[in-house]
């Protein structure tokens, strides 16, 4: 017992040494790689000056029914974000440009009021990703037509069953990406008992790092994905080394650890805003085209993302089931004390789990930014955090396979909620409501075991 006491004090010292380092390095270092980005500024009136500046200005919505508070993004001919402004009460926006040429104007979907979406422009002025193409000249002003419409707007052609088919595929896509992230969340919970509220920030980190590597530094996309995964895994390793392991040794209670993750999440979110800005950043600007199978249309990137996700998940499953390390991990999940008694280095396993979990989360972040949220923003991860928790809880806290099943279910529920009648943002709410109902019926989750009482 005495020696144990020593270990703990040593651990405490290590905490002090490691903390500041972790907080800043572990989470923020990869961000320092990035150059400070643009941030949304309020719309100001633009006056074109001959040979100096040109104006691109317009109104979101109609003059009688303007839409306020929407981020309007201006992209250059290469598709890179130039500037973002937020519309005022009158729905007006205005950009000042210093070079003539083609520009693309697009609305940030996330900032549009619920139920509204940008109306796809006519083919003649259509740019990539539903943007509107404008040609700016110095010394004059142009007004692109940016219109919005109801999301439930029926384009006419699509039948209900086609919609369902499309949603199922979208749901599988979302489910697979959620599974990537929730596997790690579940493994961490299983081995340490910790509900990691900062897991979503690891997802965001993945997108951010990929944005830095691929978009800003111009790295090849595939290389970028691999590099991001490795970098994020490194962040997981460093986090455990400098923060979680010393805290475990210090004997901090689980509740306290959980609050630590919340503080970490908070710090990370605002750090992202600080370094990258508050607007959506694209990982790739290139258009990869789409492929259709019958009624289902997906971008080619989506197929690739799903493929990558499946491979990664299968790999994790293989490691867990077939290898010694996987067996050791499951043993630690079952009973850490027993595992330790039978010669397993529990600390090493937990560090491995943190590393793998962070890597998987980072990978999920890149893919999510590529194919679902169409870019990465400081709160991208935060928005799916609850879906991750729902997935993990649904499958049974702490079981990796359960997390996978739960993720797929949550993905399907979210995507199918729309065509089946849930309006706008409520599709997330539906997933959470299902979680609450399930807890009433089967509290241990779909694949969880009933707990021994007493």
């Amino acid at each position: 017992m005495k020696s144990r006491h020593h270990v703990r004090t040593a651990g405490a010292r290590a905490v002090r040494k490691g903390l500041v380092g972790t907080m800043l390095l572990g989470l923020l270092l990869p961000l320092l790689l990035l150059v400070g980005g643009s941030s949304a500024s309020a719309a100001t009136l633009c006056l074109p000056k001959p040979d100096e500046t040109g104006c691109i200005s317009g109104t979101v919505g109609s003059r009688s029914d303007p839409v306020a508070g929407v981020d309007v993004i201006l992209r250059d001919a290469q598709g890179a974000d130039v500037e973002t402004v937020t519309t005022e009460e009158d729905g007006k926006f205005s950009f000042t440009v210093t070079e003539a040429g083609d520009y693309f104007v697009v609305l940030d979907d996330e900032t549009l009021p619920d139920g509204l979406e940008q109306q796809p422009p006519r083919a003649a002025i259509a740019g990539p990703d539903g943007s509107v193409k404008v040609t700016a000249k110095l010394g004059s002003a142009v007004s692109p037509i940016v219109e919005v419409r109801d999301q439930d707007y029926d384009a006419g052609g699509e039948s209900f069953s086609d919609q369902i088919a499309q949603s199922v595929v979208n749901g599988l896509r979302l489910g697979l990406l959620l599974a990537l992230a929730s596997l790690g969340l579940s493994l961490i919970y299983g081995t340490t008992g910790l509900s990691n509220f900062s897991h979503a920030e690891l997802v965001t980190l993945g997108g951010m790092v990929a944005y830095g590597l691929v978009n800003l530094a111009g790295m090849n996309l595939w290389l970028g994905i691999v590099a991001t995964t490795i970098l994020c895994a490194g962040v997981g390793y460093v986090q455990d080394r400098l923060l979680w392991q010393p805290l475990r040794r210090r004997g901090l209670g689980l509740t306290q650890l959980m609050i630590v993750t919340i503080g970490l999440a908070l710090a990370a979110q605002y750090a992202y805003q600080y370094f990258v800005g508050a607007s959506l950043q694209k990982v790739v600007v290139r258009d990869f085209g789409t492929t259709s199978f019958g009624p289902v249309t997906l971008t080619n990137l989506s197929f690739l993302a799903m493929g990558v996700a499946i491979v990664a998940i299968a790999l994790v499953g293989f490691v867990l089931v077939k290898t010694r390390i996987g067996q050791a991990t499951r043993a630690v999940s079952d009973n850490p004390a027993l595992a330790a008694a039978s010669g397993i280095d529990v600390d090493k396993i937990i560090r491995l789990v943190w590393t793998a979990a962070a890597g998987l989360a980072g990978l999920a972040g890149v893919l999510y930014a590529l194919v679902i949220s169409n870019g990465i923003r400081w709160d991208t991860g935060m928005q799916i955090l609850l879906l991750l928790f729902a997935a993990v809880t649904l499958g049974g806290l702490g079981t990796a396979f359960g997390a996978f099943v739960g993720s797929i279910i949550i993905g399907l529920v979210v995507e199918l909620a729309g065509p089946l009648g849930a309006p706008g943002d409520l599709k997330y709410a539906v997933a959470l409501a299902i979680l609450i109902v399930l807890l009433l019926v089967r509290p241990q989750g779909i694949l969880g075991r009933a707990e021994r009482v007493g």
């Binding site: 017992m1 144990r4 703990r8 004997g251 004390a337 008694a341 009482v453 007493g454």
Partner: protein, 337 residues
Amino acid sequence: MSETTIGTPSLADPAARRALMAGVTPEPGAAKQDPILKVDKIERRFGGITAVDVEHLEVQRGIITALIGPNGAGKTTFFNLITGFDKPSSAGSGAHWEFDGRALNKTSASSVAKAGMVRTFQLTKSLNRMTVLDNMMLGAQDQSGENLLKSVFKPLWSGQEKAVEEKAKELLARFKLLEKKDDYAGSLSGGQRKLLEMARALMSDPKMIMLDEPMAGVNPALTQSLLGHIQSLRDEGMTVLFVEHDMHVVRHISDWVVVMAEGRVVAEGPADTVMSNQAVIDAYLGAHHDTDLGDDQVLTDRALEQIEAEVRADEAAHKAAAHDGDHAKHDQQGDKS
């Protein structure tokens, strides 16, 4: 403690107790003269494993009954079942048990306690961040100040509060914990916490007290005092049922022994004869065959190791490992004083 006196005080006399149990056939499920607890067809399965499968069991009022059996025999699970902390798999298909004439099979753990059957836990559940006195006062039943609406008006409950406090202090004095009354329960030694838990259970004036391994992790000096307390409870008329691994303890204080193995009751009888029962030997031999059951030392050591292993595993599972060191330190200091 006069108010807790139930049953015949004459049972303080060993001869009276022997006489009382003499008429009982020493076989599993034997009928007792005046059973306080009757259990029928209680079964609990975890996955494919049957942890408890008790056909019939009666517990005699006013004496000390020991429940023994090899590790994994289902003793604690059985405790959990009859005290409402777990639900039998056989619920609805014949599972039935009654306490003092009152059916308990559909009752929650809290109502079981209210009915007068109070238990303690193998891993002591003291309320660590509360004072010893607060721990005790939570034991008292029917406090009007615990009603949300009355609680804000102190005059409505201050009288009862004083009475409860007096009673708590009396009990603490009896268990030699009075001078610790303002300490946090978490700062007590393991043995003192066992005492506190027992004293707290007595605050509710139970008819029967169920002790789950009261001696586990208690140092030898305190063991003797614990045994004395258990015996004096019985002498005041309370029924005691306890789970124990230590055969020394069992022989020393129990009036009747129930042996469980693989979830079943395999034998019953007085302490001095039951260990020679063939079924009991088989049950223990099933676990390890080269030990002589007559040798207490072997059984005890092995049992202790098991307990310790279990405790370690459980504590780690509860992430309590951190303050373990503190306890150990307190153990040494506290028990010396």
